[in-house]
């Protein structure tokens, strides 16, 4: 509920956007540095809920694209977000922001790791964090699922993807290659039957 600076309805040019490459870099640095056990929940929270740079629908669309293509999902989302406003320089700034600072942290932790890896307290803390991190990603999926209201039949594909990857532990690439084309074809036929409109 942001009280101030709510743009009037139907004023797309008033949508918030990153002001500069520096802002893009810093926002992605900040969200990546908070991403213990996964950056995705933070990307959704910061880009959609906090900054309003993307609608939830746009975020799902970028994520869907990023998952079907090679490369890490969140890195692919960073590339698309950066490219959207600043072209290839934005893509580099967003991806660089995502990687640079966490890279320093990871390399520092590697030095420390040998000394603490067998400490039972550290091990238990990491397990507790893992349980929460998994829950945060599940919660993000539920939040994103609200974009699919009125498209209930399509969630069959989501359920199949979950069954294949999470429950049957089939390799993700096979699930994507099997389900993706079928879902796109089904959507294409459904759109055409509805009268050729590019329904959103």
């Amino acid at each position: 509920m942001s009280a101030a600076a709510e743009p009037p309805a139907g004023a797309p040019q008033a949508r918030p956007r990153p002001a500069s490459l520096t802002e893009l870099f810093l926002v992605f640095s900040a969200l990546a540095l908070r991403g213990f056990g996964g950056v995705l929940p933070w990307a959704q929270r910061v880009l959609v809920d906090d900054r309003g740079w993307l609608t939830r629908e746009e975020f799902v669309e970028m994520l869907a694209f990023g998952q079907m293509l090679p490369g890490p999902n969140v890195c692919n989302v960073a590339l698309m977000v950066g490219d959207r406003w600043f072209g290839w320089r934005g893509a580099v700034a967003a991806l660089g922001g995502m990687l640079a600072a966490p890279c320093v942290v990871v390399l520092s932790l590697a030095v420390l790791y040998g000394q603490v890896a067998d400490d039972p307290v550290v091990r238990r803390a990491l397990i507790g964090m893992g349980a929460v991190a998994g829950g945060m990603i599940l919660g993000t999926a539920l939040r994103l699922a609200t974009t699919q209201r009125g498209r209930a039949p399509w969630l069959v594909f989501g359920s199949l993807a979950f069954t294949g990857v999470a429950l049957l532990r089939i390799e993700l690439a096979w699930v994507v290659l099997a389900l993706g084309p079928v879902a796109v074809l089904a959507a294409w036929l459904a759109n055409r039957r509805r009268g050729g409109g590019a329904a959103r």
Partner: protein, 177 residues
């Protein structure tokens, strides 16, 4: 590390880049075969540590590739592995994204949007499930924490760092796990 070794590392990871659908962890078995088995540059514990550290640390998990490169060849190795792993997939992603963005109203793009979004949500839920079940196993208290975290993220805008901190603390104190 020699220049030829660095080039070999770069080329090998660049070749794997386009196979890494869903992230670099998908091709980690092949990385293990190359770095540990074929070249003997790393031991299996070193390899597994790199993945464990990148998952515990903040930031994208792809940084395990950086860490592998670092262990093999210091700063130059880290750069060769990371750039090799990310450059080809990034170029493909940008090219496809621009192709799509130029044709927002084309029937195929509309179908991609409608058809792939639910799969993306299913795959995201899968990632959460796999991480949670790896950490929680059969412990009901840990699963309860997973459920609370999911509920909070789904329904509220509470600062997520509190959740991570609570998980680490309850785990460290032995309240759960």
């Amino acid at each position: 590390m020699s220049g030829a070794g660095l080039l070999d590392l770069f080329v090998h990871f660049a070749a794997l880049s386009l196979l890494a659908i869903g992230g670099a962890l998908a091709v980690s078995p092949e990385m293990h075969r190359y770095l540990v088995g074929e070249r003997g540059w790393l031991s299996t514990p070193q390899f597994n540590d790199a993945i464990a550290i990148a998952q515990a640390a903040p930031g994208p998990n792809i940084l395990f590739v950086t860490l592998l490169g670092w262990q093999v060849g210091g700063m130059a190795g880290a750069l060769a592995a990371t750039v090799g792993q990310l450059l080809p997939s990034s170029l493909v992603t940008l090219a496809c994204w621009r192709w799509k963005s130029a044709r927002e109203d084309a029937p195929l793009v509309a179908a991609i949007r409608l058809g792939l979004s639910p799969i993306a949500i299913g795959l995201t839920a899968s990632a959460g499930w796999v991480i949670a079940s790896g950490a929680s196993g059969t412990d009901p208290a840990l699963w309860a924490m997973t459920a609370v975290a999911a509920l909070v993220v789904w329904r509220t805008r509470v600062n997520l760092l509190w959740l991570v901190g609570a998980g680490a603390l309850l785990g460290a104190l032995g309240v759960v796990g």
